[in-house]
C-alpha cells in the first residue's frame, strides 16, 4: 500500500507533471512565473486547494453522484465545489492567518479557473482511485505544479537580463523555455 502511494506521488510530481507533461494550468504558469516570491505564493495556494478539492470531489462522486446515478452532473458539480471551496478557503485564511492572506490574497480567486485543479479532481475519478490515493495524487499534482512554477520563475529571472531578439521578447521566449524545461522533464519517464 505504502509503495503504491509513493509511486503515485512520484508519478504525479515528476513523470506526469501537470504543467510540463499534461499541459494543465498553463495560464497561471505563464502569468505568475515572472517573480520568484509570487510563484511561491501561487504554488502554495494551488497545492492547498488541489488537495481539498481532490478529497471533497471524491466524496461527492462516491457518496452522491454514483449512488443516485447522476454521473452526468460531474462537470457542473465539481466546478461549483471548487469555486465555493476557493471562496471558503479565502474567508478562512483571511480570518485565521492575515499574514498568509496578505501573501496569497490575489492568487486565491484565480485558482477557480486554474484547469489543473479541476483536471486533478477529474483524473482521480477517471483512474478509479480510493480516498487516500486521490489525496496523494492531488498532493503530488500540486507539488508538481509548485515545482514547475518555481523552476520557471528562476529561469525567467535570468532571462530578464538576457539579450532576446525583439520579436521573441516576453511570451514567445517564455514558451520556448517552457518547451525546453518540458523536454528535460521527459527524462524522468522510466523512473517508476
Amino acid at each position: 500500500m505504502t509503495g503504491g502511494l509513493i509511486s503515485i506521488f512520484i508519478v504525479a510530481v515528476f513523470i506526469e507533471n501537470f504543467v510540463l507533461n499534461q499541459i494543465l494550468g498553463i495560464c497561471p504558469f505563464i502569468g505568475v512565473s515572472n517573480k520568484l516570491d509570487s510563484a511561491v505564493g501561487m504554488g502554495f495556494a494551488v497545492t492547498f486547494v488541489m488537495v481539498m478539492a481532490g478529497v471533497v470531489t471524491w466524496g461527492i462522486q462516491t457518496f452522491i453522484l454514483v449512488p443516485l446515478g447522476l454521473e452526468y452532473l460531474q462537470t457542473i458539480s465539481f466546478i461549483l465545489v471548487i469555486a465555493s471551496l476557493v471562496q471558503f478557503v479565502e474567508m478562512v485564511v483571511r480570518k485565521t492567518a492575515p499574514a498568509l492572506y496578505q501573501a496569497l490574497g490575489v492568487f486565491l480567486p484565480l485558482i477557480t479557473t486554474n484547469c489543473a485543479v479541476l483536471g486533478a479532481a477529474l483524473l482521480n475519478i477517471k483512474k478509479g482511485y480510493g480516498l487516500v490515493e486521490a489525496a496523494v495524487n492531488s498532493l503530488g499534482a500540486g507539488i508538481g505544479f509548485f515545482f514547475a512554477l518555481i523552476l520557471m520563475a528562476g529561469i525567467r529571472e535570468r532571462l530578464d537580463t538576457a539579450e532576446v531578439p525583439s520579436a521573441m521578447k516576453g511570451a514567445p521566449i517564455t514558451f520556448v523555455t517552457a518547451g525546453l524545461l518540458a523536454t528535460a522533464f521527459m527524462g524522468f519517464s522510466g523512473l517508476v
Binding site: 510540463l20 507533461n21 499534461q22 499541459i23 494543465l24 494550468g25 498553463i26 495560464c27 505563464i30 452526468y72 452532473l73 460531474q74 462537470t75 457542473i76 465539481f78 466546478i79 461549483l80 469555486a83 477557480t112 479557473t113 486554474n114 484547469c115 479541476l118 483536471g119 477529474l122 483524473l123 477517471k126 525583439s166 520579436a167 521573441m168 511570451a171 514567445p172 521566449i173 517564455t174 514558451f175 520556448v176 523555455t177 517552457a178 518547451g179 525546453l180 518540458a182 523536454t183 521527459m186
Partner: protein, 199 residues
C-alpha cells in the same frame, strides 16, 4: 461596430489564443493532431455560442454580485451537453480529447467573452462575437496542430505526407513540441505586425 466586424475581429486581430493569450491549456494539449484540433475547436465554439446567447439574454436579470457563478453554471451546462454528444457520436474523438472536454468549463476564453462581451451586448452581437472568437480559437489550434502533426508524425489529418514521414521528430507531438511551436508562432505573428507597422 457592425455585426461583420464583431465576427471578423476574432479571426486574427483579436485572436483569443495568439493575441489575448486565453485558453492556452487546450490549445497546447490537444493540438498534437489536426483531427483533435478541429474537434476541440468545434466543441469550444458550440459552448461559446450557447453561453454567449444565454448570458446575453439574461444580462438584465442577473444580479451583478453573483454573475460569475451563474456564468459558470451556464457554461458547465453546455459543456455537459457537448461532452455527451461527442461521447455518443464520436467515441474515438471523445477518447483522444479525454478530460479536456470537461475542462472547457475552465477555458478562460469562454468565461472571458461572457464577462467582457455577452453581459454587455445584445444577443445578435453576442452570436457574432461567439462565432468569431470560436473560429479564431479553431484557426489558432489548427495552425499549431498543422506544424505539430506534420513534423511530429509526418502526417496531415492522418494522411502520410511524403518526405516528412520518413523520419518524424516524435517530440513535436509530445508536450515540449506544443510549447515550442506555440512560442515560435506568437513570435512570427509579432514579427509580421512589427513589419506592417514599420511600413
Amino acid at each position: 461596430m457592425t455585426l461583420m466586424q464583431h465576427l471578423l475581429k476574432g479571426f486574427w486581430k483579436e485572436n483569443p489564443i495568439f493575441v489575448i493569450a486565453l485558453g492556452l491549456c487546450p490549445a497546447l494539449a490537444v493540438s498534437s493532431s489536426l483531427v483533435n484540433a478541429v474537434g476541440m475547436g468545434i466543441a469550444a465554439t458550440f459552448v461559446l455560442l450557447g453561453s454567449n446567447i444565454i448570458v446575453s439574454l439574461m444580462r438584465k436579470i442577473v444580479p451583478k454580485k453573483i454573475r460569475i457563478p451563474i456564468f459558470i453554471v451556464i457554461i458547465a451546462t453546455f459543456v455537459t451537453i457537448i461532452d455527451k454528444l461527442i461521447a455518443a457520436f464520436s467515441p474515438s474523438l471523445s477518447a483522444s480529447l479525454g478530460i479536456f472536454i470537461p475542462l472547457i468549463v475552465v477555458n478562460c476564453v469562454i468565461l472571458g467573452r461572457a464577462e467582457s462581451f455577452a453581459s454587455k451586448n445584445g444577443p445578435m452581437d453576442s452570436i457574432m462575437d461567439a462565432l468569431g472568437m470560436g473560429a479564431g480559437f479553431t484557426i489558432a489550434l489548427i495552425m499549431i496542430a498543422f506544424f505539430r502533426e506534420l513534423l511530429g508524425e509526418g502526417k496531415l489529418f492522418g494522411y502520410a505526407i511524403p518526405f516528412f514521414n520518413s523520419d518524424p521528430a516524435l517530440i513535436m507531438i509530445m508536450a515540449p513540441g506544443g510549447f515550442i511551436v506555440f512560442g515560435l508562432l506568437i513570435a512570427l505573428k509579432r514579427h509580421m505586425e512589427a513589419k506592417g507597422d514599420a511600413r
